[in-house]
Symmetry: C2
Subunit: 124 residues, 2 copies
């Protein structure tokens, strides 16, 4: 086994890439020769954790992500950040570090977001 959670992550990635998949489809896309029930179990657990939604399609369930990859990631990060964090810059730098591709457009958008954030804050 690689790091724990690896299989769950790979399956989630497939769902993010494809939108909605059945157990059989996920199993095929994974390519490893996992047992059908292995994939089913993982999807079932993801559903129990409310990481994915599912909908009946005939006999079978079809699974889809509950939230976008970005939202999921942002949630994880928010859960990681302690409320008493005093200096946020290392955190923000870590973000921007990862984002080589931030073009001017994206930077504009972010600034706009910050401004609207400020306004909102003032109102409350």
């Amino acid at each position: 086994m690689a790091r724990p959670g690896e299989l769950e992550r790979r399956i989630l990635d497939l769902l993010w890439a494809r939108g909605e998949l059945s157990v059989r489809e996920v199993r095929g896309l994974l390519g490893d020769d996992l047992a059908y029930t292995t994939v089913m179990t993982v999807l079932d657990r993801l559903h129990a954790k409310e990481a994915v939604l599912r909908r009946k399609d005939g006999l079978a369930w079809r699974y889809r992500p509950r939230q976008s990859k970005e939202q999921a990631l942002a949630d994880k990060i928010v859960r990681l950040v302690p409320r008493d964090l005093h200096d946020a810059s290392p955190l923000l730098e870590a973000f921007l570090d990862r984002a080589e591709q931030l073009d001017d457009d994206a930077l504009d958008k972010l600034e706009a977001l910050i401004r609207s954030r400020r306004k909102e804050r003032k109102r409350c």
Copy 2:
């Protein structure tokens, strides 16, 4: 038990607050009535994971964080964010959306980072 890792986190927080502590000191500051060896085991595991450094002081070890709280957080985030993240704006948007903790100060810093990003970009 609360969430797994809880005790480790509390102990790390103590080290970040106090700088350097012995097992006995940590145990006292925790306040729970944990066995001495419980605290020792956790510190030992943190050391094995290289989350803390230690130095002999007479018979005993004294433990201190390997990195600042902010750096540790940034590292965790970097590990969480995939390297193939092409467009960071959705993520940052999602983050700004979720992060009620971000105070004005943090927003200022983010703006400053964006500005310096812009400048850097122009230069290249």
